[in-house]
Symmetry: C2
Subunit: 183 residues, 2 copies
């Protein structure tokens, strides 16, 4: 069984970079209640922040989302795990994203990286993503990873953090074992 | 309907680059009969040539395979065409391949580029590729694009050039039209 894992806001934390950019541009450090429910670059007047996504280096030093390394390593013991990221919009992100993956997830083979633009090309059994439009086009089981911009989305099963991802797949593995026993 | 098109040896011609490298290393310009049936870097003593694939610039200036631009443009009128290339083995090829695509196939959107390692992740109706192992893992209709290293392969329908690709899909389109008429 195969899992397609998104990168930004799922294993790579872009929020601190956006908060820093906002502070640099506007001289204000946002609190959670200022941006919760929205993307920071969609706040009034803040669209200029999104231009940073095209700059070399933006994706190079993002922190790892808490718990993701341990849980992804555990997942690889039971599933084929692919990291699938919509990198193609940002030509200058390609090397940064590749290097980031090798640095922070060295136990994943380069064969398991996918840089694409439209994730409907992906064939997998599970997809974990923060964007509802990626899950809409997916034929397997989609899990919505909570991010500020998706908190009002109701259509998909939700995982709020990597501990919940682990619990979800522990249940899946138990279910598969039980099914196998009674077949 | 969606077509997944390979890049190297299908739309991007790597052969001239390998012939140049061989000539530089060994002082001999190979003729077709010297390498036909094999990859040039698998000729005796020539494995050093493959190291060039990791260098910046190797993929930057490859010529376009004859007829590919015209036929791919025509295909986009009838199909969703994705360029799917196993770029992940060669970190330094990522930007070169992206820029090459934009330069030579500017009518394709970046949403239709896929850089991966293992093409079994790809979901499409057709795949055109020079590597039998990519077609083996594919669930749709695979077409083997003739390259020196695959001439003895017998398991897949073969296209020898881009004119044959066009003829194949003209037949497919006729067949679909007829099927629709009698439904």
């Amino acid at each position: 069984m195969r899992i397609a894992l998104d990168m930004d806001e799922v294993i790579a934390d872009v929020l601190p970079a956006f908060l820093d950019l906002y502070a640099t541009h506007f001289g204000v450090r946002l609190e959670k209640e200022d941006y919760w429910g929205e993307k920071i670059y969609r706040l009034p007047g803040a669209s200029i922040i999104r231009e940073s996504l095209w700059e070399k280096g933006f994706f190079a030093d993002l922190p790892v989302v808490e718990g993701s390394q341990e849980v992804v390593r555990w997942l690889t013991e039971h599933y084929d795990v692919f990291i699938v990221t919509a990198a193609m919009e940002f030509r200058n992100s390609l090397e940064d994203k590749f290097d980031w993956m090798q640095r922070h997830f060295p136990f994943l083979h380069w064969k398991n990286f996918v840089f694409c633009g439209d994730k409907s090309i992906v064939q997998a059994d599970y997809m974990i993503d923060d964007h509802p439009f990626n899950l809409e086009a997916f034929h397997g089981k989609g899990l919505l990873f909570t991010a500020s911009h998706n908190v009002s989305e109701q259509r998909f099963e939700r995982v709020n953090n990597w501990n919940e991802v682990r619990v979800f797949f522990e249940e899946e593995l138990k279910r598969e074992t039980n099914t196998t026993q009674f077949e």
